[in-house]
Amino acid sequence: MSIVTVQLGQCGNQIGHEVFSALCSDIRGTHGLCSKKENESYQDSCKERFFCEEESGVPVARAVLVDMEPKVISQTLSMAARSGHWKYSNHSHFCQKQGSGNNWANGYSVHGPRHKEAIMNLVQKEAEKCERLGGFLTIMSMAGGTGSGLGAFVTQCLRDAFPTSFILNHVVWPYGTGEVIVQNYNSVLTLSHLYHSSDALLVHENDVIHKICAQLMNIKQISFRDVNQVIAHQLGSVFQPAHTAGGGSGYSRNPLGDLMEALVPHPEFRMLGLRNIPQMPESSLPYSTFSWPGLIKHLRQMLIANAQMEEGIDWQVRPPHPGLHPLHKKPLHFNTSIANLVILRGKDVHSADLGSFQDPSLYTSWLNPQDAFNAWKTPRAFNKYEKSAALVSNSQFLLKPLDSIVGKAWNMFASKAYLHQYTKFGIQEEDFLDCFTTLEQVISSYTNL
């Protein structure tokens, strides 16, 4: 099954490009460490999911590029073409001239309706190129105006036009200390709207990725390109083909569906966090060896202690005692999960034991531990890492950041600052209040796990 990616705004297009680059470079690599047959199956599966074959033989990304100003798309298209290994279709982009001015209302209420037909036509064309459509992946930031506002509108249109398809929104959360002053307003508006039309939100926070770049990747002068490449690597580790437990011998044919089934048992809980281990500069890879028990142990503690990366994990945090009365306060800093998905890639993956992730004390009581935990595996190594493990988690990972964003937005809303910029495009105070209510509800639900 194929996935159609919709790249929205500057962030969405910049990251989208890095994702396709990473996927392409991974399948072209000779570091698969597995049998030829396995490797070929992997390559075919990846190509079917993300690329279209063209007569020239150069794979064409299954993507629609949308932005309200032309500079980023133009750069993105040319960078891809210059790589020589893959490219975007010449007819899959839509742009305008003026941008959205970091104004969610402008993106949602003005650009959305105005350009709906043109954008959805492009999506339809891309969808028709797929033999079997597996769903949509949108990539956007929630701080600006296009990715956030127009992105929310387009997600709704996708839901209306493709009611039975899966929609996964990859949302980038901005640095806490401003990239955009009204970022918290834009975030609140985006998240509340996405919650109503999307199937799940897969989140990356710029602050977290920045730390990974600084502390694990040893990058001195971190650029957005560096950040985006780490994000692309993490996304690749989720979306590259893997074998699901009951999937038989072939690679999973329905990656988005499998993801949703594994992680979103209840519509109130749709926020997914992502962790990846190990993460290091490419130059260090030849000098490092990993063991599955070590990786799994670290990943599990990252989950429990809500660590953002494999350094600085708090090993003191423990899951609550199994016999603990449900009303007893859970230990502080313990991250309760609803559902988890671990994806293992690389050498000797069949020997990896994931029993520790099935420990019922990690989860809320309302699902069977067997249903709450899923594992996907493939012996084919990813992106030059001999062994790597990814965790996609529906847990309290994002509770604190979400609460912080809503708090700051509320603080600003109480003073009515900047509201005139939104009301002039049709978003009124009541609309804001509805969004705040939706998110407070989400926060409350996750808090009371």
Binding site: E69, V72, G101, N102, H420
Partner: protein, 474 residues
Amino acid sequence: MTQSVVVQVGQCGNQVGCRFWDLALREHAAVNKKGMYDEALSSFFRNVDTRSGDNGPDIYKGKICSLKARALLIDMEEGVVNEILQGPLRDVFDSKQLITDVSGSGNNWAVGHKIYGCQYRENIVEKLRKTAEHCDSLQCFFIIHSMGGGTGSGLGTFVLNLLEEEFPEVYRFVTSVYPSGEDDVITSPYNSVLAMKELNEHADCVLPIENESLFEIVNKIHQMINSGKLGSTVKQNSLVTSSAGSAKTQVKPFDAMNNIVANLLLNLTSSARFEGSLNMDLNEISMNLVPFPRLHYLVSSLTPLYTLADVNVPSRRLDQMFSDAFSRDHQLIQADPKHSLYLACALLVRGNVQVSDLRRNIERLKPSLQFVSWNQEGWKTGLCSVPPVGHSHSLLALANNTCVKPTFIELKDRFMKLYKKKAHLHHYLQIDGMEQSCFSEAVSSLSDLIEEYNELDATKGGPRVDPSRLKIAV
């Protein structure tokens, strides 16, 4: 890509404007090596096929034929505009972009606004329409003028009104040069306060400039160069005051000061014209820096003032650039933002600077700055890959800060000194359309503005009480 049109009004407006076009050409010449007309150029220039004379068609792609500025030059005296037309920039403007008269406005806002406004209204509208027609996506009008005289102040604000009526969707950014205390125009307080009312009501963003600040910056640079304190040589064309490498050869005294303002406008629009990893367009500036409609006065600073000839820039010097942006003596008005309250702050970086450098410096400088309680992390940032000519990197800081208040209070005080004695009032009141109420309304508008800043200042330093969040029934 969007286009912007510059409307330069009066002597000051046209002198600054002239420097702007010169430096804009220089900047594009440095970046555009192939001589092809591109999107970046089209934001300020048309490409005209002049083989069949001045009325040739616009060429949208391909080689540069003849660049024409997207500008309107307005002055009620001929001296300055004539000089421009005889100088090296004469080919950049065509006669259809000029509106001039002979007798000037006599430093009288009412003459500029009421008499010439009325007289030239149709002419101005027609020329504006023509300029707008040449743009396929007009985003912004930049008005450049001074506040203290008659034409720039009176006719300039008349044009501002006109722009709002005729082109309500297009942004109006105004660069206003405010008179100093020792201004030799006695009636400058009247002119300025009458103009302020118009700026309050019709501008989207105002960038106030004070000559004293420009003058101090120019002096500072001369001192630094002459004192020999700098180890290596200063790259001449990197001076924020320099015209080196541009068409102009003589340097008149005001040129250095006007170059600073021209550079301000170039840097402001750089991220809209050139690519970068985090673009910051003009509509984003207005969105992020104007929390309440009337509080749209932005204090600006440009750093570094010059670049040394070293090729490797240690991050220490990069960090110094950020520190300087917040220091009193780099601001383009006499104000100290560090000791007042920030409502919002924007940093537009050009050149080889990455997001980590930005973040490091914001973290470093934040503790020494006071932000209003509802905007504690109120930073808007932009990264443009193309540095200004002669520099490897530069920074433009725009602050919406209560430090503009003293400038306005002083203006009001100087106004009241004259007004109480009714000094020179008759020159204004004898103009058709002017009444005493124009004055009282204008000073009232200014007082209200000052009061809004006062209320914000009152919240400074107080205990931070966050409003309670919505409660959800579990």
